[in-house]
């Protein structure tokens, strides 16, 4: 029956669209990754910041983190992959490796603490969620909604 067949196709098309939307949400979900090269305190002993860590991640320009630096990466999708080349001290030979980690979907931003990771500390030390406190909005609190303001083009 013509109409039934067509409704079937319409439902199919709508489901397809919803499917694409969900797919987009999954592969498009972006997270901000803060990579800290800072000394960290963990039950008694201290893990020193490295002298220099060269870092690169998919879709971001490579960056260098000196001691006590925090660099920012944008990671699209849940699987985080960062290649690093870290030199502990002036003289020591560089350690190379890749950090592979799954970021939980709901986390907006993540903090990776390099020294803790290099020292193989448990996950909840080197990989924590970063809660953004709402930035104080300096722009005027309640701008007058301009009715038909003429915008440059």
């Amino acid at each position: 029956m013509r109409v039934k067949r067509q409704t079937l196709f319409i439902v199919g098309a709508v489901l397809l669209l919803v499917g694409i939307a969900v797919l987009m949400v999954i592969i498009g979900r972006g997270h901000i990754v803060y990579v800290d090269n800072k000394t960290v305190e963990y039950n008694g002993n201290e893990y020193k910041a490295y002298n220099l860590v060269e870092l690169s991640a998919k879709g971001n320009d490579p960056q260098e983190a000196f001691a006590r630096d925090r660099i920012l990466f944008k990671c699209v999708g849940q699987s985080l992959k960062i290649e690093y080349e870290a030199t502990k001290k002036q003289s020591s030979s560089p350690e190379k490796g890749i950090i592979n980690k799954k970021i939980p979907f709901s986390w907006d931003a993540v903090v990776v603490n390099l020294p803790a990771y290099f020292a193989g500390l448990p996950e909840e030390v080197w990989f924590t969620e970063f809660i953004q406190e709402p930035p104080a909005d300096k722009s005027s609190s309640n701008e007058e909604i301009v009715f038909d303001e003429f915008t440059a083009f």
Partner: protein, 372 residues
């Protein structure tokens, strides 16, 4: 601007039919040297602007084909696109997936608004354009009601950084940094300092193909028939009202996509004002390309974008060079945009009336022969 294949290529009729584009060529010819922009800069500006606006202007072609005139109500689609973008920003979806998601979100909203606009236009037959124009303000009020009051309070918004400090209502500017130029940069080719957004041009080319293909479909044919004579179309059984509403829905949905492409190129969304002038500028550009209220082709779109935006870029500097005050140039380009619409509308209506007086002359002529 297809040249009619009449036997004598009559210069006069060429200029008379395309007086608006010719006038703009003159304005640009005068302003460009005076404005003193390097050629490369102009070229790159024009290319980005074609990438930014072409899709939006193409969305205007379908209602013209269906005889609804210039669809000033395309802003409804722009608003739907903006709502899509707001949600995508809130859910933190980056890059192209974000853009695709925004488009998918905008579809149902555009269809609803398009249907509403089409139905009201059907109730005000003969006054479609002014109705579309007023629909802008009406739906803009509802848009502000939703975006300024419901978002954050009734409609859950996760990330408060896009909300106003008072806790509800979206901020005046929303940063689209995460999807900025992502369509353009997908396959961007750089020649000298000119960046050609190849992927966006592919999208535009696809849209042109869609329009060409659509004109060949039965619905396209029905629209052309309805556009030319509603009563005859109705007599042969074409559902006139439904066809007109579908043409407005399609135009609104495509305007939604066009707006998303436009905003990803700009990189930031001025929530309450981005869409207010969009309708007017796209229609002005289309008219500058030689289109009229009842006839528009893809050629008009591209010629219009180039000429109109060329004028738009050079006018302020040209104005400053001529009169020493750059504001003159600013106002000049606004004046010319509104002026072009006024002229095009006036010429269209006047032409409609001029066709009538032809028959009288024929009769007098026949009588003279008889008297001889």
């Amino acid at each position: 601007m297809k040249l009619l294949k009449n036997n004598s290529f009559n210069i006069l009729t060429f200029f008379k039919d395309n007086s608006v584009p010719v006038m703009f060529v003159l304005i640009c010819a005068v302003c460009i040297p005076v404005a003193g922009f390097p050629l490369q800069y102009l070229l790159s500006e024009i290319i980005t602007r074609i990438g930014r606006n072409a899709f939006l202007i193409l969305a205007l072609l379908i209602p013209i084909m269906a005889g609804m005139g210039l669809n000033f109500g395309m802003t409804l689609g722009a608003m739907a696109g903006e709502i899509g973008l707001i949600f995508v920003c809130d859910w933190r979806i980056y890059g192209i997936p974000g853009i695709v998601l925004a488009m998918i979100i905008s579809i149902p909203i555009s269809v609803l608004l398009g249907w509403l606009c089409g139905t009201i236009m059907n109730m005000a037959k003969g006054r479609e354009m002014i109705t579309g124009y007023i629909m802008n303000y009406f739906i803009n009020g509802i848009y502000q009601l939703i975006v300024l009051f419901c978002m954050g309070s009734i409609i859950p918004i996760k990330h408060s950084d896009i909300l106003l400090p008072r806790g509800y209502g979206i901020r005046v500017t929303v940063d689209l940094i995460n999807m900025r130029q992502s369509l353009d940069n997908l396959i961007a080719v750089r020649i000298g300092m000119i960046k050609i957004p190849v992927f966006t041009f592919i999208l535009i080319a696809l849209m042109c193909l869609f329009i060409v293909w659509f004109r060949k479909t039965k619905l396209g044919q029905d629209m052309r028939a309805v556009g030319q004579d509603m009563e005859v179309a109705r007599a042969t059984g074409i559902t006139v009202e439904r066809t007109r509403i579908i043409s407005i829905i399609m135009s609104t949905v495509l305007a939604g996509f066009g707006m998303i492409i436009y905003l990803q190129n700009i990189g930031s969304l001025t929530t309450y004002t981005a869409h207010s002038q969009i309708g007017m500028f796209c229609i002005a550009a289309l008219l500058v390309g030689g289109a009229s209220v009842d006839k528009a082709s893809i050629g008009n779109v591209f010629l219009g974008v180039i000429l109109f935006h060329l004028m738009f870029i050079v006018a302020p500097n040209a104005g400053a060079a001529i009169t020493g005050d750059s504001m003159i140039g600013e106002y000049f380009r606004v004046f010319v945009s509104y002026g072009v619409i006024t002229v095009a509308l006036a010429m269209y209506e006047a032409k409609k009336r001029r066709a009538k007086s032809l028959a009288g002359r024929k009769l007098a002529q026949a009588q003279k022969e008889e008297a001889k």
